[in-house]
Structure formats: C-alpha cells, structure tokens
Symmetry: C2
Subunit: 251 residues, 2 copies
C-alpha cells in the first residue's frame, strides 16, 4: 500500500488560497467570490505514474488542472506509432469545454494530482464569469504557440537538435520554478523516460539514447545516472538546439 502524500491526506480540505497553481491556472484571474463558487464544485483526483487519466474517445465529464506532477497528451495510430502532442505541467488545463469525449490519451508520467470540475457546471460558470474564459483563452493561445514551436522541431530539426531542444525546454522551466541564482549552470532531472522523450520528439528510443550519449560525450551536458542533467553552458545548449540564441528575449 503506497504511503499517502500530504496532498492525498488533505484532498477534501485543500484550500485554494494555498494552492501552488493559484496564480497560473484557469482560475488565476478569479476574485474571491468567484473562487468561492469554484471551490464548492472542485474535487481532487490523484494518479500514479504510468496510470492513464483518460483514453481518447472516452466520455469525459470533467475538466481540470494539473496541480502537481506531469502528464502527457498522446495520439496513437492504428499500427501503434505514437506521438506526444502535449506535455501537461502544473497549472496546465485538461479538457475542452463543450466537448464530451476526450480527443487524446492522457497519461500520468509522474504521480499527478489534478484539480477537477464537473464539466457542465464549469461550462455554465464560464459563460457567467468572463475572467475564467479570458484566462482560458490566454492559456490556449500559449499552448498554440508552444505547439507551433514543437512543429518546427518535429518537421525540421535533426535528432541531435531535438534532444538539445528538449533539454533546454525542461531546463528553462525548471530554472523558472527554482528562481535560480545568477550562476550559469543548471542542474535538474529529466522527468521523462527515453521512450517518452522519443514520443515527444518523433524519434525512436534508441536514437534518443544515442544522441544523449553524444551530447554527453561532447560536453554539452553532464550526466549523473540516467536522469540527472547538468548544463555547464546554456548558450551552447541553445546553439545545439538550433534556436536563435536571443529567441528567449522575444518570447
């Protein structure tokens, strides 16, 4: 029997005010009265690493946000080829208002806690409280931008560039969370298996493994174990990713 986490213990009593994604999720713009309404209808669900949150085509009666952990959106072809089409991080939204069935497979990559709302009440709230709809629009536009950057990666980058890009993306996000010091090197864990990275990048897991080894051999990254990465020179990594070095400023 797995030991219950702090959050699992407090599933029903979790207070929105203490929520780690309070200022980034779909509720970010809501004010106290609106929060109270949401708080009444919300509920938490947890998923273990590897567990399926929902299958593509299944009926979906809820929408929600990732509170902690990481999940993936994937599409699968009949013959089994798979492509990840979304990487869901804390505060990211799952589900589409107005849609009854899931369009993608959603899988918990790490242990995941979700904050859910039943779909119908949520849709009704969206009509009445424009702040939710505004925030959802903003988040959807951000996701669309991310998807488009991803399309460039999938369509035009080499395997080496794809790996470098992925490490840069994860590293950058991690740095944001940690409010890192001025130091130029960056240390973090890759939350994905080689196979999940392959699904993300449109590669095979063997190619992923080979290219990670190559980047390590060339000193672009340092590895401790399989998952723990140090980036000694982030600009070098961005060069390897084929990204405009100054791209980060505009985004």
């Amino acid at each position: 029997m797995p030991k219950p986490s702090i959050i699992e213990d407090n599933l029903s009593s979790q207070d929105c005010a203490d929520c780690p994604i309070r200022h980034r999720a779909v509720c970010a713009r809501c004010e106290s009265e609106e929060m109270a309404l949401l708080e009444e209808v919300k509920y938490y669900r947890t998923f273990q690493a590897g567990q399926t949150v929902i299958w593509s085509g299944d009926r979906m009666d809820f929408v929600g946000s990732v509170v902690t952990g990481i999940a993936s959106l994937t599409q699968t072809m009949e013959d089994g080829r798979r492509q990840m089409v979304g990487l869901l991080l804390p505060s990211d939204f799952i589900g589409r208002p107005g849609r009854q069935t899931a369009a993608y497979d959603v899988t918990a990559i790490s242990d995941v806690v979700m904050c859910c709302f039943r779909r119908k009440p949520f849709e009704e709230m969206m009509v009445r409280t424009p702040r939710i709809a505004q925030r959802l629009l903003e988040m959807t536009l951000d996701e669309l931008d991310a998807a488009r950057e991803w399309m460039l990666l999938l369509g035009r980058k080499t395997a080496r560039e794809k790996i470098a890009s992925l490490i840069a993306i994860i590293g950058r996000r991690d740095a944001e969370l940690k409010l890192r010091s001025a130091g130029n090197d960056l240390t973090f864990d890759l939350p994905l298996t080689r196979e999940a990275m392959a699904d993300y990048l449109g590669l095979t897991l063997e190619t992923v493994s080979r290219q990670i080894s190559a980047l390590k051999r060339d000193g672009v990254i340092l590895l401790e174990g399989k998952r723990h990465v140090t980036v000694p020179d982030f600009d070098r990594l961005l060069e390897e990713a084929g990204d405009d070095t100054d791209g980060g400023l505009l985004v």
Copy 2:
C-alpha cells in the same frame, strides 16, 4: 497593372451582411449592434500571391481575418530551414490580442483579402463583448486540435502518408465548401506549390514531387496538369494517409 478584382473595387463599401465568412469568423456570434460597432472600425487589405503580410518580429498594430484566399504561417531557422506552422483559410484569424509583435511570418499563398481591425480598439471590444472572446476561444481550440493532428503527421508519418494526408485535408475542406453531391469522387486544385507543400509537411520539394508521382502511379489520385487532382476513392486515400478510416465521424 493588375486588374482590380470585384472585392478590391468595393473595399470600402463591403457590407458585413454579405460577407462570405460572416458565420464562421471571429464575429460569427455577434448580434446586430455589435456588428455595427465592428463594421465601423474594420478595413480591408489585399495581398497578391507571394506577398508577405507581416514578418516575424515586426510590430503588429492590427488583427484580422482571411476573407478570401490562402495564407501561411511559417517559422524559419537561422540557416534557412523553414516549417509552415499554420495554414490560414477563409475565416481564420491572424494576430494575437495582447501581443504587439508578430510571432511568425505570414505570407499570402494565393491572392488574399483580409478584414482587419486596429488592435487596440479590438482588444477593448473583446473585453466588453464576450461573444467575440467566446468565438475566438472556440477558434483557438480548433486550431490547437489541428496543430496536434499536424504534430502526429510531422513526427510519425512517412512521406507518402504525409502527402496523402495533405491531399485528404484539402479535398475534405473543398468538399465542405462545395456542399458536394453524393458522388464519391472528388476533384479540386492544390492551392500550394510543391515547395509550400514541403514546408507544410516537413519534407523537401523533391520528395513531395516523387510521392505525388507515386500516388498517381498507384492510382490513388489522378492528376491533370500539376495542380488539379481527382480522388477516385476517398477511403483509399485515407488508408494511405494512415488515418483511422472512421476518424472523420468523431471530429
């Protein structure tokens, strides 16, 4: 000197009630008073095939919709590799409220007529009239779905499947516009050059050419000239595209 089109002649007098995209564009949900407000601040712009609408990074003081014609959103890497990240058809929206600079190159593929709004007034209207924001959210969610299907194509499909998919997409859209008869074959023009298709599909133009020839040789499509396509058996085409044959029903 190019002969002015009917629409160019009527740029200033175009009436929203007669607009071909009235019921699909960002204004689709607006009612008469809101339409009147929009009608006051709108203006038309035309672009010739091949002309650039805006360059990535340029200041963008307007947003708008494609009224007629086709445009592309592309990203370019420093060394010149290009990837199309959006194909803009009539009623599709260009620009992001709240963003001052263009994130992508926008290019007219055919001659294009756009219905534009200055960004600031449009943003203010969006706050006041939720119907515009609602419709924009819906359109953005649709685009996100399209982008994700595209990601599967870019990451996992073979060159042959990519070409078949593109032809299926264009054919299906064309069929919708034409309200086609019950007949099973489908005839239409490819609005893209081989190079534009390559940018769309993450291929080289030579590979595009070869795979189109192969599909023709195998009887999946018939070609008259370079651009005019007939699909004798749409299900066969979908098979070649690697799509779930019944996928269309759920989408």
